[in-house]
């Protein structure tokens, strides 16, 4: 591993019973990069995020965060080392306000206290465009705002590496543009981003590299245009014959 890597995955494998979901996946992400992870249904994308955050345990291989092997650490320990994550289906604490949701993330995720926790929570809401809704009950938010709060909760943990899981689905064009601007802003403050996404138009507006998973393996790792032009990638998405 080199000191330049924010995240490294070495030969990671994961099976559920007889079903091999990931088979020796390796990848590396440099600090400040925005890397998109794409792949057809069942490719292993969300499983990969689970192994990165510690929600799932690797059967083989290692996960390194800024050079440190975190493979055996539980999710809270990885969060405190700078790994943040959003989930595909946002599940805010509905009875708490938007601000309280972000505060819980700052305290429980990053281990912050007092004014540091308040500061992190408010900064996260500002980046996610949610400061104006700070006192709104989270349970009443519309979809876009629930997604923004999900992002704010991840940011309140002050992650150095942020993992995003399909946050662009179901948005209108202006909402997509707003999301693109938000992710760019988060990246500009130095956050490394690994983004699982199927809305290519939004993903490729920000990502400088795409990694394509298929059948539990990395089949392409290159600039977005090169990955989307790859015959292997097209066959993985569109079927073996591809016209």
């Amino acid at each position: 591993m080199t000191a330049l890597e924010a995240l490294r995955v070495d030969g990671v494998a994961k099976s559920y019973g007889s079903l091999a979901v990931l088979r020796s996946v390796s990848l590396a992400v440099a600090p400040g990069e925005v890397v998109g992870v794409v792949g057809p249904n069942g490719a292993g994308k969300t499983t990969l995020l689970d192994l990165l955050t510690g929600t799932g345990r690797c059967d083989a291989g290692r996960v390194l965060l800024s050079g440190r092997d975190v493979s055996r650490l539980p999710p809270p320990a990885r969060a405190r080392l700078g790994l943040g994550r959003t989930f595909q289906v946002p599940r805010p604490l509905g009875d708490l306000t938007v601000f309280e949701n972000a505060l819980v993330a700052a305290v429980r995720g990053a281990g912050l206290r007092g004014r540091h926790a308040y500061g992190a929570a408010f900064a996260a809401l500002s980046y996610a465009g949610m400061a104006g809704l700070a006192n709104t009950r989270a349970g009443g938010l519309r979809l876009l705002d629930r997604k923004r709060l999900e992002l704010a909760r991840a940011l309140a943990q002050r992650p150095r590496v942020l993992l995003l899981d399909e946050i662009a689905g179901g948005l209108t064009d202006p909402e997509s543009e707003a999301l693109i601007a938000t992710i760019r802003a988060v990246n500009e403050i130095g956050t490394t981003i690994v983004w699982v996404e199927h809305v290519m138009r939004v993903l490729t507006a920000v990502a400088t590299r795409l990694i394509c998973l298929a059948d539990g393996r990395v089949i392409a790792d290159d600039a977005p245009a090169a990955v989307l032009a790859s015959e292997d990638v097209r066959a993985a998405f569109l079927g073996g014959g591809v016209l």
Binding site: L143, G169, T172, R201, L238, G239, G241, V242
Partner: protein, 243 residues
């Protein structure tokens, strides 16, 4: 008379909009339409809305000249629409034959598809008619799911991802059966991940992208590059009727 006409369909799950102003038509009996698109594009939602399992917020579904937009699912079945759902959704504790009879019980008139005819079309399940559906192989279960739909004597058969998880040989057999159904006058709308297979089996193609029609036209007129661009969303325009 146009057999199926979908016009300006908008469908929501809560405040998540899954379909945006979707229109398509299946002009004549015995034709086949391929419905393709990436994960989350809205294919299953569209099929379920045509079948009445999802409610349209606006827009219309017209079948054989009758507006069925607000008709409940059982009325649509008696009108001649049957859905083969993704994941088969068989009654595992019932026998093969009981599953098929559930389909025929949905219609009051004597069906054009008595059990003998169904077993002729699907010899792979004839020998297993007294066995519980849960003990069948994936291919056999898929055959039962199609047989259950046929038992309702549909003129329009909606098929959602029938090849998912099946061996290529079994998929080939199922598609041969579908070709026979078409020849006998049944109209098909097929959601299929394998683009080459879908295009070989159908006359027309509609590609959905983020809940919108990104490409529509006769299979013979669409180019590989058009389909790839529509699928990945590298360009997004309104409906691009190439026909």
């Amino acid at each position: 008379m146009t057999l199926l006409e979908v016009a300006g369909l908008n469908v929501f799950y809560g405040d998540f909009q899954a379909l945006f102003d979707v229109s398509l038509s299946v002009p004549r009996a015995g034709s086949a339409l391929a419905l393709v698109g990436a994960n989350g594009a809205g294919k299953t939602t569209l099929l379920r809305t045509i079948a009445g399992a999802n409610r349209a917020a606006s827009g219309s579904v017209t079948f054989s000249g009758t507006d069925i937009t607000t008709a409940p699912p059982y009325r649509r079945i008696t009108a001649g629409i049957a859905l083969v759902p993704e994941g088969r959704k068989l009654f595992g504790s019932l026998t093969v034959e009981e599953n098929i009879l559930v389909g025929s019980s949905a219609v009051s008139r004597p069906g054009e598809w008595p059990l003998e005819r169904i077993y002729e079309v699907f010899p792979m399940i004839a020998a297993r008619r007294k066995q519980r559906a849960s003990v069948l192989s994936g291919g056999e279960q898929q055959a039962v799911a199609i047989a259950r739909a046929l038992a309702a004597a549909p003129s329009l058969l909606l098929l959602d991802e029938i090849s998912l998880g099946l061996a290529p040989r079994v998929v080939g057999e199922l598609y041969q059966t579908l070709a026979g159904l078409r020849a006998a006058g049944t109209t098909l709308v097929i959601v299929e991940q394998d683009l080459a297979r879908a295009m070989a089996a159908c006359d027309d193609l509609v590609c959905l992208l983020e809940g919108r029609v990104a490409l529509a036209g006769p299979v013979s007129s669409v180019t590989r590059e058009q389909v790839v661009a529509a699928y990945f969303g590298q360009v997004r325009a309104g409906p691009d009727d190439v026909g």
